[in-house]
Symmetry: C2
Amino acid sequence: MEKKYLFSPGPTMLPAQVLLRMAEPIMHHREPEFEKIFAEIREGLRYLFQTKQEVLVFTSSGTGAMEGAVSNILSKGDRALVVRGGKFGERWGEICKAYGIDFIPIDVEWGRAVDPKKIEQILESNPPIRAVYTQATETSTGVRHPIKEIAEIVRRFEDTVIVVDAITGIGVFDIPMDAWGIDVLISGSQKALMLPPGLAFAALSDKAWKFVERSDLPKYYFDFKKELKSAKKNQSSYTPAISLFVGLRETLKMIREEGLEAVFRRHERLASATRAAVKALGLELFAPETPSNALTAIKIPEGIDGSKLQDLFFERFGITVAEGQDRAKGKIIRIAHLGYYERLDMIMVISALEMLLKEMGYAFELGSGVRAAEEVLMA
Amino acid sequence: MEKKYLFSPGPTMLPAQVLLRMAEPIMHHREPEFEKIFAEIREGLRYLFQTKQEVLVFTSSGTGAMEGAVSNILSKGDRALVVRGGKFGERWGEICKAYGIDFIPIDVEWGRAVDPKKIEQILESNPPIRAVYTQATETSTGVRHPIKEIAEIVRRFEDTVIVVDAITGIGVFDIPMDAWGIDVLISGSQKALMLPPGLAFAALSDKAWKFVERSDLPKYYFDFKKELKSAKKNQSSYTPAISLFVGLRETLKMIREEGLEAVFRRHERLASATRAAVKALGLELFAPETPSNALTAIKIPEGIDGSKLQDLFFERFGITVAEGQDRAKGKIIRIAHLGYYERLDMIMVISALEMLLKEMGYAFELGSGVRAAEEVLMA
């Protein structure tokens, strides 16, 4: 018998009942029934983003909304600051480059969070910087950046906005958009939202909408102003991924029923249990100081082949975990616990890790990882 | 009992077996199994587009690929020619405008096809025009434009490419990309491809790829060169709409099993039957001279309220047909027959049309539309 399990940081495991709702005969996106779904989604996304603003929905990967957060926010000649502490931080820089936007990178060691003071220094000594681009979780390293602190700094600069890619973050831990004064908050469907990939989200503060008014960079499909106008009529500007919208209504309902606070606590618990297991096994976290509750990045111990470990996860147990990307390739594996995961899911993947490490000759006490996780989960 | 039927030109009715395949637990897009699916899709799309080129797949509405066909093909200062015979022709103009591209519009009366001679004249008298943007079917009017003839003209101009939005066209009638010398051919998932919306396609000729090399307009998510590189590794540049890819493999298989020639004949038959019914009912086609086999646009007869007719289709029979858009609003209804439709589907919708017209006081012989359709379908 072969069962399969996803522990990758997107796509993540999906609730079967949501998959089946999405398999219902497709409806037309101009029908009143779809507009009702759209209205529910708008409300549910406001709850999830903790904002009074409209949350725009695009049919695309999360990267599409990231691009929109450059092409709609900035104007020719603007300068930006980009936090680069991993593959997705680098993506902000690539997008700026594609639009001819000059940017100052803050290169952070992979596995570390950015120091907000550095951002403050650069904003103060290099005016005007129009936007600070960062991640809530840098998915490639498992690091959580200090968004609250960065937002507090940026708020003091009238002509600067903070743009947060929270594709890995929203629905995992608390990122209250309005309360923290985040100007642009972005997410995607295939992570904590328990859906297949294909939808991207973006919400903007009043301050950010003023930047949009001024922006002169070219945009069409990811035109935020146009999409805002459509959303207010419970429509999308272009034919939306209807089946994903249908699923989104369901998963937003699930999140609402569980309650955001409980959702955050669940992720905190799963992440703590995973980290405790890692330590009990004598392994090291790749982001020991500022780990995200979305995923746990584990350093591959001396003498173990990281790629082989990842392959064996799949071969022996049907489990997909993520290996390191780019410069972290072969050095880490990443185990995700964001979205449709609960306590016993983590026990499974930790147990599999134990059995594989034993097989690969790594010395430790079998069962010690699971025991440490259980202790956290029972607390 | 309430049954629902889609006769809108996107989204269209979907095969239940494909919906169920897409409801299977999601896989990771870097798994060998997904790469196998990707490889099959590449092959299937080449068959569908009748090309040796790579067909790029984007997670977006069709409009995303249209935008890419401007931002990847043109460069600053380039001029374009845009065929505007409906809402989607206008979209080409809007995209050019968004990118600061100067364009000459050919405004064609809604319901008519463009005259290729006009294109020839403009290309000859206004060099250099770098690209001609048109539709295979103008979905808003039901018109089929003479792509073969336009492509023949454009081919004579070394520095000009023809870009065809065949979102409503591919898999309906013959548009052999390589044989006709089409430079950029675009499509989407939610029409003849029998899938939910969410995927867009673009294939480029060698000539068009040279334009891409030269292009200096900003692009990131819809970067054709980057996507080509990824596709050759059976990957997408950004997390793809995995479930739609899984469905795409199935529907491409269905098309291949039926065979393109048979697919085109089926659409020709359904369209002919629908048009025969329309005429038998004493109604007029909106595109009498150059109707597309994808959909049939029917003029609303004197004394009938077009919006009410559309509403009654849904209220009485659960049928979604499309009304006119923009300047055709209230003047036409559009009945689609592209994708997962066969003979008796058309009988249903024609019969519903008869019953509704009778109810609304339009004078005609009940059953005459269905009879005319049957005569065509039996031939």
